[in-house]
Amino acid sequence: MLLVLVLVTIGVFLIVRLVPGDPAQMVLGLKARPEQIADMHHRLGLDQSIGKQFTSFIGTLLATGDTGQSIAYNVSSRALVLSRLPVSLWLIGCSAVLVVAISLPLAMTAALHKGGWVDQLVRIVPTITLGMPEFWVGLVFVLLFAVTLKIFPVGGTQPGIDGMLYSMALPSLTIALAQTPFIVRSLRTRILEVLGADFVVTLRAAHLPERVIRRHVLRNALLPALQLYGMKISFLVGGTLVVEQVFGLKGVGSLLFSAITVRDFPLIQAIAIYCALGVVLISIIVEIAGGLIDYRVRGGLGGEARHQEAGGVA
């Protein structure tokens, strides 16, 4: 995970140097006067040697968490990203909650009534949704729920926690729907496995109510799905960036795409690094959650293979 951060940082540093032609020229346009170009070179630090550039880039990044002044906004890139962060975090949080709220009951029902209509549905729907671009699903939701039914707002955010939740409903549902098929499929398979495990017979023989038995089954089935979810965190974050654009949410995503349009190098660098950092942090949270479910994966990355022995199908 740390390695990813390092790779991203190096990659992000190289972006500016890899762009064909002169980045200053790209920012300022063809009509820029030579002294303007020179000034921009100086601001971006491009007039120094590449080694010096790299050390000063890493130095400021580590010391201040910044990648320099945004060209377009003329303020610190870090401050810009941080100011947009809350909206994106809300969106990610709401989507994550929705994924759980949708996946668990669906997978449980599909597994308990194997071959039933929910099971069929769970198998067919991914075939259809696989080719649906998230932004398009978002637009269709707006059309259905905001324009036609007028249940949810078309976009933007509203004040207050309830206003925020209200504004997040459609965008987070959009993101969650893209994630659920994988999770449901993995959970369903695992629940079926666990239902055949010896300990379920013990619980039944001990006259425990069915809902208590299901709780045990779910807990044992959860870890692989959670680990899969952890691997897909980057999709969650990536989806957030795009879906923000659809709903006009002023988050990191809309900042990214406007930064790309105006060729704001330092800002793009900051967003890339903070997104990577976000993925790493969320992955750590997922891992901690995994440890809460299964003591055997506590405090270690290499727990993936170990869940196999849990349940021990006879």
Partner: protein
């Protein structure tokens, strides 16, 4: 069917054959009458019309090689047949009214939820069977486990099944069974998966519990030595049928069938048993 007739009549007066415990003419606590189990798809019989009774306080051993249908019979009595097999007639098994069944299993480790602490598992069973408050159940569960020979540290910190030995897990399994306050304990090869040295400890524990709690036991095993250690009466099964039944000593000393003779000759001594 006809071949079983003599056995059935034999069991209807078990006092004559089995001696010790079942010397009265009580109502049987378990009555199995012409039990038939088939696969759900075809009609291949897995259990082919067996009948026997178990009297209160008795310990009856169901013995036979693997595939003889003894475990399936036990599962049918518990009401927990595995997927894919069906009972031909639900009336063929009757348990006396208000008598509660509990079961312990062959693989003690995998028959416990690997992700829940063992004291919690026992406490949960107590809560739902004895309607105890959570705190009370937790305390009693720890007491029960410790009285069954688990370390006293369990009272302070729960352990997961993966952190216990096979023998300890089987003690937890027994605790779960006892937490349901059973009258009848069904044992499905509870010592087979254990080290030979631990086997005897578990058998002694079961014998002790039987005396103290007045349990009726139905004990499934392929090991006649284990059965002899614990059972008043033996029922020998082969290919889903009963081939021989009678008091343990009679069956062991004077087997009537070739199949039984083979089982008897395969008995291995239980280590440590000869010391006593």
């Amino acid at each position: 069917m006809n071949a079983d007739a003599s056995i059935i009549s034999n069991q209807e007066h078990p006092g004559a054959a089995a001696g010790s415990h079942a010397d009265s003419c009580h109502e049987p606590i378990i009555r199995v009458n012409d039990l038939r189990i088939t696969t759900a798809m075809g009609n291949r019989p897995l259990i082919d019309g067996i009948s026997f009774d178990v009297q209160p306080g008795e310990t009856v051993g169901l013995v036979g090689e693997s595939g003889s249908g003894k475990s399936l019979t036990l599962r049918a009595i518990m009401g927990l047949l595995p997927e894919g097999v069906v009972l031909a007639d639900s009336e063929s098994i009757s348990i006396s009214e208000h008598k509660r069944l509990a079961m312990i299993f062959q693989d003690p480790v995998s028959s416990l939820d690997p992700l829940t602490g063992v004291a919690r598992q026992v406490a949960e069973v107590m809560r739902y069977n004895q309607h105890l408050p959570r705190r009370e159940a937790q305390a009693q569960a720890a007491d029960l486990l410790i009285s069954l020979g688990l370390p006293a540290s369990l009272r302070a910190a729960d352990r997961y099944p993966g952190q216990l030995s096979g023998g300890q897990c089987q003690r937890v399994g027994i605790a779960i069974a006892l937490a349901t306050k059973p009258d009848i304990l069904l044992c499905d090869e509870p010592t087979t998966a254990l080290d030979v040295t631990v086997q005897l400890q578990i058998l002694d524990l079961l014998a002790d519990l039987r005396e103290r709690l007045g349990l009726t036991m139905l004990f499934v095993t392929h090991n006649l030595g284990v059965a002899a250690h614990l059972c008043d009466r033996l029922i020998v099964m082969q290919h889903g049928r009963i081939v021989e039944a009678g008091a343990t000593e009679d069956v062991l000393n004077n087997p009537q069938q070739e199949y039984t003779r083979r089982l008897v000759s395969a008995i291995l001594p239980i280590p440590g048993e000869q010391d006593r």
